[in-house]
């Protein structure tokens, strides 16, 4: 096959393409080279880590792709973490998952686990011990992980689609394009916060709203936030990025004085003038906050938190809030995380209060990636901007966005209770 692109391949790339590294590497390189041409890349570059989103079971074709690579003997060339799967192996029978789905989603897990990968099964790989560092070239899938890696860690990845992430992992190569290159990492749009109360900036509820706003405005451009006075936690930045990568295609952002490539406003824009400036007021954010709720009434069937996957710190915070309380028997309380964080929670002593409250801990997947929710579950509440954005369309539910305190109070009351530590309006 001829490639009519200006792409320059190294000798090793050509050897992979010729099959000298085995048939799986050859297949991965064949796909990668064609894609590099479409990206307009002139060469491939070395990556030193990968994160695979193709683990999510969608259907037969994705499974056949994984099993084809596995049967050809695919092994990853760099440390490679795995995103959520389509199955909570420990708990799927407690939910509406069919055995046919479970069997196929499990086969897909087995295929990707067979490639020498690290079975993290999480959408928050940046909260594992193998997170990438400033300047590191990586190939990551999963939109929330991509934006966190670029913005918060200063690692460098493009938005890799499912199926291509694994080709990068197997070859250890990625197209030298987009956010891999220094000159493409500067800001495009300036978002200046105007009179946003610092007390609000310090709270968890602020960040999914700011992220949703940022995504709607920026699309796939790079927003820069200025005048943030609070020092957001890792979990708050995680929530912000996930929301921005849902309402928009944000793969990178800067917060002046907070994120590593934005020590100053000038650094965030790489010395260039912003193409567009927006003054962000409390009124504008309040409108976005209201838009995250679609519920028309106070009915409540379940609370879901942990999108992206809950960290140990978030599990501990929730455990402290539910201590001594009991959820209403008609309201399910779903916490999504991964097996490692559940083990950490057990060791830290915060698993018991969560279970005593009646939390159901869903591992290694999420409510959007596995068909676990029975269709009778119609009304949802969440702290997650990403869950709030996708759930009405994907799960056909009505959703209420609120604070963790509101979620707990609502789960106890058996209906949506607002106003406990709520958004200032």
């Amino acid at each position: 096959m001829a490639y009519d692109t200006p792409l320059q391949l190294s000798e090793r790339d050509q050897a992979m393409l010729a099959g000298e590294y085995g048939p799986a590497t050859q297949m991965a390189m064949r796909i990668l080279v064609q894609m590099a041409g479409i990206y307009g890349a002139r060469e491939l570059l070395d990556i030193s880590a990968a994160h695979i989103d193709s683990t999510i079971y969608i259907g037969e074709a994705g499974l056949e792709y994984a099993e084809r690579l596995a049967s050809l003997g695919a092994k990853v060339a760099v440390p490679t973490t795995l995103n959520v799967s389509g199955l909570d192996e420990a708990h799927w029978q407690e939910w509406a998952v069919s055995s046919d789905w479970a069997e196929k989603a499990h086969r897909q897990m087995v295929a990707y686990a067979s490639m020498g990968t690290i079975p993290t099964w999480t959408c928050a790989p940046y909260q594992t011990p193998i997170k990438p560092s400033l300047g590191q070239q990586i190939a990551w899938g999963e939109s929330n992980a991509i934006v966190y890696a670029n913005a918060v860690l200063g690692a460098r990845t493009e938005r890799y689609p499912d199926l291509l992430d694994i080709c990068c992992a197997i070859t250890g190569r990625a197209p030298a394009t987009g956010l891999h290159l220094e000159e493409n990492r500067g800001g495009d749009i300036l978002l200046q916060l105007v009179d946003i109360p610092t007390t609000l900036q310090e709270r968890d509820i602020f960040y999914p709203v700011l992220g949703t706003f940022m995504g709607k405005l920026a699309g796939d451009r790079i927003p820069v936030i200025a005048n943030l006075e609070a020092r957001p936690t890792d979990d708050q930045l995680k929530a912000q990025g996930a929301a921005a990568a849902s309402s928009g295609a944000v793969a990178m952002f800067h917060i002046v004085g907070v994120t590593p490539e934005a020590p100053t406003l000038a650094a965030a824009f790489q010395g260039k003038e912003p193409r567009h400036c927006v003054q962000v007021t409390l009124e504008m954010l309040t409108e976005v906050y209201r838009g995250l709720t679609t519920s028309q009434d106070d009915s409540l069937d379940f609370v879901a938190v942990g999108c992206p996957h809950y960290s140990l710190a978030e599990l501990q915070e929730l455990a402290a809030l539910v201590q001594g309380k009991q959820r209403h028997p008609n309201v399910r309380f779903i916490v999504t995380t991964n097996r490692r964080n559940k083990d950490l929670a057990r060791k830290a002593g915060c698993l018991a209060p969560l279970l005593a409250f009646g939390c159901q801990i869903t591992l290694d997947t999420c409510i959007l990636a596995t068909p676990m929710l029975h269709r009778s579950l119609r009304s949802m509440m969440t702290t997650s901007g990403k869950f709030a954005y996708y759930s009405p369309g994907m799960l056909n539910v009505q959703v209420t966005y609120g604070t963790l305190q509101e979620c707990v109070a609502s789960a106890v009351a058996g209906r949506v209770v607002k106003g406990v530590d709520a958004w200032p309006t």
Binding site: Q34, Y39, D53, S54, G59, E60, S143, D162
Partner: protein, 141 residues
């Protein structure tokens, strides 16, 4: 007798023929395309409710989720994919599905990029034939 012959740029080469389904709005296949039927299910999209299986689908680019690639690949395998996709911007997510479909199933799904001006001359209901070189041959209703 063709009414219009446009020269597109083949992002992924292939030949196809079908009735056009054209929209100015980008589309996410994840949550927007039912691969079991070929129906466009994004209720905010102008083509919502239309079946794109076997049609020449025009959407300027794919929106949002990177899982669009996986859903399009499922549609190809299930026989519910469009016959071709016309775009106005290089879209790596559509292209990847077409490249993997060729690798896995020896299946050709042409992805052709048109200039916005040429794209604007197409309408739903046109009969479109696509050549290996990326020519888009249009017969109006």
């Amino acid at each position: 007798m063709a009414d219009l012959v446009l020269q597109g740029r083949p992002v992924v080469r292939g030949v196809a023929q079908g009735e056009a389904l054209i929209s100015p709005e980008p589309l996410s296949f994840w949550g927007g395309y039912d691969f079991t039927t070929g129906e466009i299910t994004d209720r905010r999209h102008p083509l919502s409710g239309q079946n794109a299986g076997g049609k020449v689908l025009g959407v300027p680019f794919s929106r949002g989720s990177s899982t669009t690639t996986a859903v399009l690949l499922e549609a190809i395998r299930a026989g519910t994919a469009p016959a071709a996709i016309l775009i106005t911007e290089d879209d790596s997510f559509f292209a990847l599905a077409a490249i993997v479909a060729r690798e896995m199933y020896d299946y050709r799904l042409p992805i052709i990029a048109l200039t916005p001006a040429d794209y604007a001359r197409l309408a739903t209901g046109d009969c479109i034939r696509i050549t290996e070189e990326g020519s888009v041959i249009v017969t109006k209703e």
